[in-house]
């Protein structure tokens, strides 16, 4: 009996104070030297703020895209060769359809769980791009892109472009009537590029539109090449985040030289893993209850057919809106044509918007002469010019998005299409100029209003034995402490402009 106990004790002693876990880690450390770095990683501090969750939504919807996407590739046939459809969706029976279309319908109806996976994939994509945009807005309005994080801002903007691109490629794969029209428009946009447009179009499509190469090519781009680049850039994005550590809002005990929040293990890990499940759950619920892209209702693509309410996914809306409202100015002379009616709204305009995003940190550095390293975030109202400029650009893009529904809006408001189109032209141009001064003014007002938007602490009224009433402020809510702190004053290197400094437009880059 004692022998057994002794054996167990000696075994335990041989394992050391931390048991099997300690032993395994010891073996790992012998080979890889992970103990020190691992401890540092476990102790890494993540600042808490709800807005830091937006990037996580983007990351986790990308994880969902990868998982559901792998499922879809198992059943999808990337081929434009025609077959006669004889599947479980009877209304299409006997129709001539491409294999891409037929396999998409089949994986939706004949594969168990296929429809759910397809709808989750589509919803996750819409959420992915949306979360990137909102995350980017957070980073912009709080000044998180400033030195030393300009490179990560550039990577993030590239990721947005790639996400939009890959969304379009994936949307095109089922070869249905609506997405086929989208490909046709993309081809025409490539054609519009001066001098090399028709050559580019022929190289991308392997000949004149439609050809038979585009679906297989989009497939390999959508499933391998672009996702691989996205995975690489997401890795770089996260590496830089760990290397440079998080930004944080100013507050008690928070300085440029520290990070205040919860540790990686176990608090952040629990919260972020839980959040992954929440994002996955909401995507699954959307996939279950909100139908998206029912291609069997649109039918297969035929170049001479079209359905009337043709609209792309939401993130392509601003391009479609720009194409709708741009006037028909085409240059035609000396035997050559420059289709400005396409080139400007579909090539030059998005180029300008994204390039403005790319160079913004540099512009701001130059115009504010601020070359300091920043780890504490700005309150948006403390940077009225930046905030107003950002709101102006967003307003412009949102109005373009609205303009992509001129036909629907005209029907809804029961006005003529012409009226609607002219109205959208006016709105797109003037709304940024209205948004800028209003935002600027609101920011200036908020600056003077310390403690705005916070929960008020009540006064506790007590009655003394003598019948006297005494009001004492109740203690601050525990969760409100960091919010109850006064905003940091505007740094001295920012010159306060007089009130009339609100020149309109997107190019105002002072703060």
């Amino acid at each position: 009996m004692t022998d057994v106990i002794n054996t167990q004790r000696s075994k335990r002693e041989a394992l050391g104070p931390y048991g099997r876990v300690g032993k395994t880690l010891g073996e790992l450390d012998d080979r890889l030297g992970v103990a020190k770095g691992g401890r540092t990683f476990m102790d890494k501090i993540f600042p808490d703020h709800w807005s830091f969750m937006l990037g996580e939504i983007a990351l986790y919807s990308f994880v969902i895209l990868l998982v559901t996407g792998v499922f879809l590739t198992l059943y999808f046939t990337p081929s434009q060769s025609y077959i006669t459809y004889h599947g479980s969706y009877l209304p299409l029976d006997g129709q001539k359809v491409s294999q891409a279309f037929a396999s998409t319908v089949n994986l939706s109806f004949a594969v168990r769980g296929g429809l759910l996976m397809r709808q989750m994939h589509h919803w996750a994509c819409d959420i992915f791009v949306g979360a990137i945009v909102v995350h980017m807005a957070r980073v912009f309005f709080t000044g998180a892109f400033r030195k030393p994080r300009e490179l990560n801002w550039t990577i993030g903007t590239t990721l947005l472009i790639l996400a939009i691109l890959n969304g379009f490629l994936g949307y095109s794969l089922p070869d249905d009537l609506v997405s086929g029209t989208g490909i046709r428009i993309a081809y025409s946009i490539i054609l519009s590029i001066p001098v090399v447009g028709s050559y580019l179009g022929f190289l991308v499509f392997g000949g004149n539109f439609p050809g038979t190469a585009i679906i297989p090519r989009f497939f390999i781009l959508h499933c391998l090449i672009v996702p691989a680049i996205i995975v690489g850039l997401v890795g770089a994005h996260l590496f830089l985040l760990v290397r440079q550590k998080h930004t944080q809002f100013p507050g008690e005990g928070r300085t440029e030289k520290n990070v205040v929040g919860s540790p990686m293990f176990p608090v952040f890990m629990a919260k972020t893993t839980g959040f992954l499940f929440v994002v996955g759950g909401i995507t699954a619920l959307l996939g279950a209850f909100a139908q998206v892209n029912p291609i069997w209702q649109f039918g297969p693509y035929e170049a001479s057919r079209i359905s009337y309410a043709v609209q792309p996914d939401w993130y392509m809306g601003f391009l479609d809106g720009a194409l709708r409202i741009w006037p028909s100015w085409s240059f035609h002379n000396w035997g050559h044509t420059i289709p400005f009616e396409v080139l400007i709204p579909a090539v030059i305009l998005p180029g300008l918007i994204f390039n403005l995003a790319f160079v913004w940190p540099m512009l701001e550095r130059k115009f504010t002469n601020d070359h300091e390293i920043h780890h504490l975030l700005d309150r948006p109202s403390n940077r009225p010019k930046r905030t107003a400029a950002g709101v102006a650009v967003l307003t412009f893009v949102i109005m373009l998005f609205v303009a992509s529904s001129t036909d629907v809006l005209a029907k809804f408001f029961d006005v003529s299409l012409n009226t609607m189109l002219v109205a959208m032209r006016v709105l797109v141009i003037i709304s940024p100029f209205i948004a800028y001064p209003i935002t600027y003014k609101i920011c200036r007002e908020l600056q003077g209003f310390v403690g705005g938007g916070k929960r008020k602490t009540p006064n506790v009224v007590t009655r003394t034995a003598e019948g006297q009433y005494v009001a004492t402020p109740s203690p601050v809510y525990v969760d409100d402490v960091h919010r109850g702190l006064p905003a940091t004053p505007v740094p001295t290197f920012i010159t306060e402009e007089p009130e009339d400094a609100g020149e309109n437009g997107v190019r105002v880059v002072d703060r």
Binding site: F209, A270, A284, F289
Partner: protein, 312 residues
Amino acid sequence: MSDPHEHRTPVALKGLSADDPHLQPAAPNPQLVEKVIAICFVLGALCVAGFGACYWINAQAWKLGATMGFGLFFLGVGLVAWGKYLMPQGPFVEERHTLANSVADRDAFAAAIVERGGGVVQRRKLLGGLLGGGLGIFGVVAMFPLLRSLGPLPKTTLQHTDWAKGSYVVDQSGRRVQVGDFAIGSIATVFPEGTQDSDRGQAVDQTVLIRVSNEAFTTMKGRESWAPKGYVAYSKVCTHLGCPVGLYEQELQLLVCPCHQSMFNVRNGAIPQFGPAPRPLPQLPLYIDSSGFLRSQSDFHEAVGPGFWEHQ
């Protein structure tokens, strides 16, 4: 009553005693929170098991999604709540060390590149130039298999369609159109005979045929003979972005493109009346042969569809 500021002051994680308030759960009543989280986990587990059952019996997609969605959602909410309310509340502080190195380290790094590397290159300029030239040539040459092989050159294929002198006008099913087939106001998509089933025919040759009157109809000066017996034919490919001009406003005799709402007036040569399209739809000159079949006099007189650099 303790001052909430006091134990909300950030502290370093290392070397905290186990009873430090920063290591206590954030929730004032942990037992209750634990019960709520347990309920979340039970609901989540039930839903996830339900997902398995739904899959087994091949239930409808919405049931699969609902069980999986609620399952993941409850598990996730429980885990988030566990992290937020029952784990060490902190706040903890971590030093942020400057990433930049000392001037001496920077200089040593720069010296390694400039002196060691630069010296080598400057002394061997010829070799460097030759290597650079070779790699440059390879870069250009490598473009050919990578890009040039992707497709043929456009040559003049964008300028022409398959309509030719004497092509029979056929409908979607390949039936030749005869002069008596259409009532006034009728419209159909037609193709040159033999192309109606091909991709190119569908994409490039598609033409919209409208009968606007009983008499020969002139849409524009110089096109007096193009629309015999009121049969007018225009390319169906929109001159804006190439969508099929698929809507016809019969009263106003406007062809409308559903993509970006360009409108073309059928009566005056399909000049764009509204919207972003820059050019009229090209008109196809028709004639009626001795047996009463509609045929084309020639190809379109200009390239159909959206604009491009070589568009005449």
